[in-house]
Symmetry: C2
Subunit: 299 residues, 2 copies
């Protein structure tokens, strides 16, 4: 089955202590779509400006991503630039130029409205709601978000949470949302806001799912070198949704394994700048690491 | 088989935002010995002062801990007092009164020298070396430590690391020791210092083992309430060593499961002040949580 993914389609300029990479393909939808494409057909919803490089359109096409929902708008592509500190756990935003994203309003092509798996990637909750409004009875809807929306668009986000099956956020965002530093108490509080499945990401410490079948502690793939963690969270949820859309069985029967696939896809993302390593990855390489992870947690 | 445990036997005064508990039984050896006692006979090596409450001797006895190596010395028992912040991840030492520990020199009773499993709990590396010098061909020796010794007794600690099978430390200590923030690179650097088995503890994020059979990612038991994390690390390594001493098979065949038992024992420790909850725990309660953890990581 297919996955519909909405989110930002951006140009990222990323600085780390070792290198500087201007205008890489980035944005939540780009990372999630490429990650999901290893498992299932992807339909992308987003907006880019006139400066959006052709090579990035080709990159999407290489991953067989359906671009009928990618609007080419007058103006500039959303541009984010940020800098990582030495240990890669802290980053600061140097500049955010919204460009076309400021006025972007997603209108879904008819063929997009029946897609069963919907990933509302990190973008303004109002846009996530706008996409959800256009969908016809999707089978499984997951939303991602970020601290920015918790701070400036909480009412919209809370409205959204009542309408999604799953919600993914990181540990500091979970604390920001619930005012609770205990992760397992925070999970319960987030369930009370609506979602049946809540996943809290903890970076290199893995992630935790709370769902109808209880808690699942998902490991992160052990990396000895992190080049650029930008987009890792989007790759995680993209890989997760792609796997869910591709595999047989109930959501409950496959969501744990889907998280492991997401975790491995995110690890590839961290090994290169932007999408450089993700896009070179093959399904066989993902399968190999999933098998490795299985051995790393067995006791 | 038995476990010999050396470390501090202390009185801890612990303040949290919710409560204040003066002069609880504490110290690395106390926590580790009680934790190990659920699995194997324990021989304790330590020193206490004349003020050491009888009820704590009785607590050790309740856990069938052999106290022939516990010296009663003129002076006061080592007393530590500390305060936790709201989120329990940060604590500060309010006072450290070394008391008898300042001049304590462990002399092992003859019956202690043939014990096969040796846990050199957190205490000055010189004392850990002094105990190790008195042992006759132990089967498996693990050392624990803390940032203090990395800062003020590094030469002794490095000498010790060449002579132990396993070394346990937490993530910030691993970074302090190796100047490396990537945990998997840090593990390799610590192997180069001697130990065949290196375990890095990550608090509520679990722990990671690196050994001859590769990496093992060990989960922490999910707690919704942490009352007092003091001694959790000591309980972890105590439970680990107790399980290793009790179970059949090679170290490699059982060390992963031993970590899970350590992890669960540490979780009980966190649920009460000092040893209050640990000492009320039964083996059946530990087994129940180990089974739960098995389900929480399965995919």
């Amino acid at each position: 089955m297919s996955v519909l993914i909405v989110g930002t389609t951006a140009l990222d300029s990323i600085k780390t202590p070792k290198a500087e990479n201007p205008r890489l393909l980035g944005g939540s939808a780009s990372h999630a779509a490429v990650a999901a494409s290893f498992f299932a057909p992807v339909k992308l919803v987003g907006g880019v400006g006139e400066d959006f490089p052709k090579k990035y359109i080709e990159l999407y096409r290489k991953h067989k991503i359906d671009l009928e929902g990618l609007q080419m708008l007058p103006g500039k592509t959303f541009h984010w630039s940020g800098e990582y500190e030495l240990n890669m756990n802290h980053r600061r935003t140097l500049a955010t130029e919204l460009g076309v994203i400021e006025t972007f309003s997603p209108t879904l092509p008819p063929a997009f409205r029946n897609v069963p798996f919907v990933l509302l990637g990190n973008i303004a909750p109002a846009l996530q709601l706008c996409v959800l409004d256009q969908m016809k009875k999707p089978k499984f809807v997951v939303a991602d978000s970020m601290d920015l929306w918790l701070n400036i668009a909480l009412a919209d986000l809370l409205k959204l949470l009542k309408r999604v099956d799953g919600f993914v956020l990181n540990d500091s965002e979970a604390e920001l949302l619930t005012k609770e530093d205990n992760l397992f108490v925070a999970l319960k509080k987030i369930h009370a806001l609506g979602p049946k499945y809540v996943i809290i990401k903890k970076g290199s410490h893995g992630s935790v799912l709370s769902g109808p079948k209880g808690i699942f502690i998902c490991p992160a793939y052990p990396l000895t070198k992190v080049v650029d963690p930008t987009g890792a969270g989007d790759s995680f949820v993209g890989g997760l949704m792609g796997y869910l859309a591709s595999a047989k069985g109930s959501i409950d029967a496959k969501i744990r394994r889907a998280m492991v696939y997401g975790s491995v896809t995110a690890a590839f993302c961290c090994e290169g700048f932007g999408l450089n390593t993700t896009t070179k990855t093959k399904r066989a390489g993902i399968e190999k690491r999933v098998k490795e992870l299985e051995k790393l947690v067995r006791f």
